[in-house]
Symmetry: C2
Subunit: 377 residues, 2 copies
Amino acid sequence: MTNTNKNIQLISTISEDNKLTLALQDIEITQPGADEVVIRIEAAPLNPSDLAVMFSAANMSTARQSGTEQSPVITADVPAQFMPAVKTRVGKATPVGNEGAGTVIAAGSSPAAQALMGKTVAVIGGGTYRQYICANVQSCLALKEGITAKEGASAFVNPLTALAMVETMRAEGHKAIIHTAAASNLGQMLNRICIADGIDLINIVRKTEQETLLRDMGAKYVVNSSSDTFLAQLTAAIIETGATIAFDPIGGGQLTSDILNCMEVAAARDMKEHSVYGSDTFKQVYIYGALDRGPITLNRNFGFAWGVSGFLLFNALGKLGTKTVIAMRKRVTDEITTTFASHYTHEVSLAEVLQLESIAAYSKQATGEKYLITPQR
Amino acid sequence: MTNTNKNIQLISTISEDNKLTLALQDIEITQPGADEVVIRIEAAPLNPSDLAVMFSAANMSTARQSGTEQSPVITADVPAQFMPAVKTRVGKATPVGNEGAGTVIAAGSSPAAQALMGKTVAVIGGGTYRQYICANVQSCLALKEGITAKEGASAFVNPLTALAMVETMRAEGHKAIIHTAAASNLGQMLNRICIADGIDLINIVRKTEQETLLRDMGAKYVVNSSSDTFLAQLTAAIIETGATIAFDPIGGGQLTSDILNCMEVAAARDMKEHSVYGSDTFKQVYIYGALDRGPITLNRNFGFAWGVSGFLLFNALGKLGTKTVIAMRKRVTDEITTTFASHYTHEVSLAEVLQLESIAAYSKQATGEKYLITPQR
């Protein structure tokens, strides 16, 4: 398979004495079963969901670095009050990395596995922050001829999440979407999908440069939550588009509440009769992240026809059904360098991921900055 | 129809100068159409939803009384910032009263209307705080022989809401229910339904006497949110029952959040693998009232498989479908003096509703106190 069988993976471990340790671990390359392939991971993105697994409940401001340059070790404290919430992790080395891409260097005996031999594939799950991963063919997406691992590294999480938002909108009978933190890689993808599919998308951002970025990408509705006239602008955009569903990766704060209130103002303006229960227009906000871990505050002035729910890709895919998911995967393969293109501002090796300096940078999760891990360096 | 055709109704009006006026109004008795009947209203309950229509956005601490003893007038100020929210009501005399019961004294030509002639019926909608109401037969429920108007006065709002909770639990695949403010008339009904149907119900109350009341009525799970060990007790009850759906009439505060967190603790204890996304057990809280009008605060520590939604009887019935609703109405008719019995602590005439002293009393919406209006006095 390889000359050495040498493999390295990034692991995150919480110990009983309230310590988080991040380190590189030497492991064997797993031999593939009939329906499995071994992929040499050449590119894997650092998504917010990966950071959540990697850092868990640790307070990363306490992080210190030890080990060697080739094999650094990061240690950080986990506040005692969070230990009960992570008790099923304690003492277990948890591999990190939800997705990545690379070359299939070994394949099991099944035709599906053999068909991938030598191909560049994207892969989901199992801890992709390693040099070689053994994965079931179902977890792989064969990239088209000429597509690089870097281009295919983010083929699952962001593309499927953006597509799942659009399909959820359709399945639940809404006709336009509101998206917050909308200048993110995911937001840019959603913007491209909505333009291509003729769906009105209201992009909520916090900064003027994000507004400009999205408008330059063809976004028609961009509202800045830092503006004094934000609520009025948002309401006007909702009236124009009829948006009654929103997706929000922030969670904490009042934005969800503000969105529901603006939707209700838009809905209630068509009501001939006053109702103490508010309009009967159903208004939904899905929260798919926790960029702000503070409480979600709902100042309820939006009647009784509303829902606020968590949104998780795998649950959403389960609801949408196999046929829709197969169509989504095909679209991602076809449009990986256009609609679903990701942009990376930094490339780091596995060892460089475990440098205090890089941690300080990528843990900011700043819009416009995105890290790619290249484990073969 | 009657000798005089004299009819009196209670109306609530907001004027452009930010004033709410409650008064009795002389009106004609409407002649019934083919599918309509005229009901002499003999009993109508004061539900929280009626108070919401009656008082609207007014600050009732500013209420003053004028008019005569037979025809009092209440006036109160509406804070200027709430006027936009009620603008569709301004200048319109709004009839109050969602339900009631009485005798059919005139009927339209259709067989369905004629069949109700002389019967005691319950009626929903249209402003029941009046002496005579003209209603479509679809809005009526014929009470069984010997059932009084007082016994049938609350045949719709609380009974159908309690039944809709149970049916929503079934339709959405949950197996036990959590109910807050559980010692209310509605809560007692829900308790009786759940005992009859063998469904585990966790009753959350705030006071020891409410705990005792519900236990005396056969409730197995009663937890007191004022107790120091409330969260532990709630979690233990959830573990025992598997409750993953809650109905809450309070809204404001942290109780919804606490319920979701306890559900998650119960769900996560079965997880073999830690997940940064929390358990995949879906947890739902429906908010069906606004006893606390303050913000709903969600301290999110319950993963991504959750929903918080408004719950409104008519929307819920729409979702559940005609067949279920017909079965519900039959059950209410059959069990109006047992499962669906309501208890009233005070009976007042229409004029007595508009006394400052009674307003101060019934607007407290205190558990265990319930007002019945008897418009024929």
